[in-house]
């Protein structure tokens, strides 16, 4: 066997998807490089070739998962003409199954408290999420559909509400269902922005 890792058959995006799956399942603490390699169908040296540490693996896995999330979100938002439908879609995208990765976010939060590099990753990803929300608010204000409210302030408010609720969903708090979450978020947005969001709009 060649001492050099075989890199030909596995690509970085596949490794990142495998890493995200393993972290989600076992937590970063128990995620071994061998597990990630197994999940990706490659060898441990191939994984180590790309990632120097577990922190880096988490950072990259989360960043790439978010990248896909935003790509999909941006594409979908563009297709929606109405600002109100865009806002509703944002709420749904954060409360749906699978897209918004609460387990990875919790790993990030816990580690970012002590790891400056991960703290920077968190700040960057959170900033992007908030800007996405604020842009939709500005768009709605330009079209005269949302009332004057500070878009950035509103973005922190909505993001905080959705984060708080997604923690409770992740902990399987039976009182907090995705429907309940949507209802709370939609009513908060309606009140802050002085508008009515469409009932049961397609998302």
């Amino acid at each position: 066997m060649s001492p050099r890792p075989r890199l030909d058959h596995v690509r970085r995006p596949e490794l990142l998807a495998a890493a995200a799956a393993v972290i989600r399942q076992r937590g970063l603490e128990n995620a071994r490089v061998a597990d990630v390699a197994h999940e990706a169908g490659t060898s441990a040296p191939s994984v180590l070739y790309y990632f120097a540490s577990k922190s880096e693996l988490l950072k990259e896995a989360l960043t790439s998962a978010e990248e896909r999330f935003y790509e999909k979100l941006a594409h979908r938002l563009e297709q929606l003409e109405s600002p109100r439908e865009r806002l509703l879609h944002i709420v749904h995208s954060a409360t749906g199954e699978g897209d918004y990765d609460a387990a990875l976010w919790m790993e990030l939060w816990a580690r970012a408290l002590r790891d400056p590099e991960l703290a920077a990753t968190r700040a960057e990803l959170d900033g992007r999420w908030r800007r996405t929300i604020a842009e939709v608010v500005r768009y709605g204000q330009e079209r005269g559909e949302f009332r004057t409210a500070d878009p950035d302030e509103f973005a922190v408010l909505l993001a905080s509400l959705l984060d708080g609720l997604s923690v409770q969903i992740a902990l399987r708090d039976t009182e907090v269902t995705p429907d309940r979450v949507r209802e709370l978020a939609v009513r908060l947005a309606e009140r802050e922005l002085g508008c009515e969001l469409p009932e049961g709009a397609r998302c």
């Binding site: 939060w109 968190r122 509400l161 708090d173 709370l184």
Partner: protein, 214 residues
């Protein structure tokens, strides 16, 4: 209880307290039994006597800290007769935010706990119990305020309790990471429920004079 049993129980608590402290300072993944034993002033064999495995110790330490953090959060928010519902609600919101010092430490544990509970289903009942207690704590305070005519009569206690809990967690994380000041978070949370409860526009100042305000 005999003297020996009391000492033994004291040792167990000391071990748990030392573990909680280590977790808060270094993160759960970095905690070593030998260090905890040293902090608690006991031998590692005594730690193993009380806790079969490292995992068991960490789980129980978090459980213990959850209860402690819960007690802080559910803590001395003041008597409604003395404070009135408006000031009492403000004090309860303050109990849920990471003010520098003790509350901040509890918050760090809180985040570790989320992570642990998300990963380990056996930790979830503890988490769910705590959230249920806090939800009840807020809902009861709101219902009392409505009864006393201090909050709007058509406010929905459970819904607003859910809103407050989620906002406290979501803003709390951002305060912990330094995105915003705790006084700012407090004002925004207040504003989010102000209309529905019929509250004054500005929250009353924090009960604790050491807590920063706008």
């Amino acid at each position: 209880m005999t003297g020996a049993a009391a000492t033994e129980r004291g040792a167990r608590e000391r071990i748990l307290a030392a573990a909680v402290d280590r977790i808060a300072r270094h993160g759960i993944d970095e905690v070593r039994i030998a260090r905890i034993a040293m902090d608690a002033g006991v031998s590692t064999s005594l730690v193993h006597y009380h806790f079969e495995t490292r995992e068991a110790l960490l789980e129980q330490a978090l459980d213990y800290s959850y209860e402690l953090a819960g007690d802080v959060r559910l803590g001395p928010e003041g008597d409604v007769e003395e404070l009135g519902s408006v000031k009492r609600l403000a004090a309860m919101i303050d109990q849920c935010l990471p003010y520098p010092g003790m509350l901040e430490r509890d918050w760090i544990l809180w985040v570790e706990l989320w992570l642990r509970a998300a990963r380990h289903p056996e930790m979830r009942p503890t988490a769910a119990r705590l959230y249920a207690r806090m939800r009840g704590w807020f809902a009861e305070a709101i219902a009392t305020g409505i009864e006393r005519g201090e909050f709007a009569s058509d406010a929905e206690p459970e819904r607003i309790a859910d809103l407050l809990l989620a906002l406290a967690d979501g803003y709390g994380v951002r305060v912990l990471f330094g995105d915003l000041e705790v006084a700012h978070a407090r004002r925004e949370i207040w504003a989010a429920v102000q209309d529905e409860l019929g509250l004054p526009e500005q929250p009353p100042p924090p009960l604790d004079p050491a807590h920063p305000q706008d």
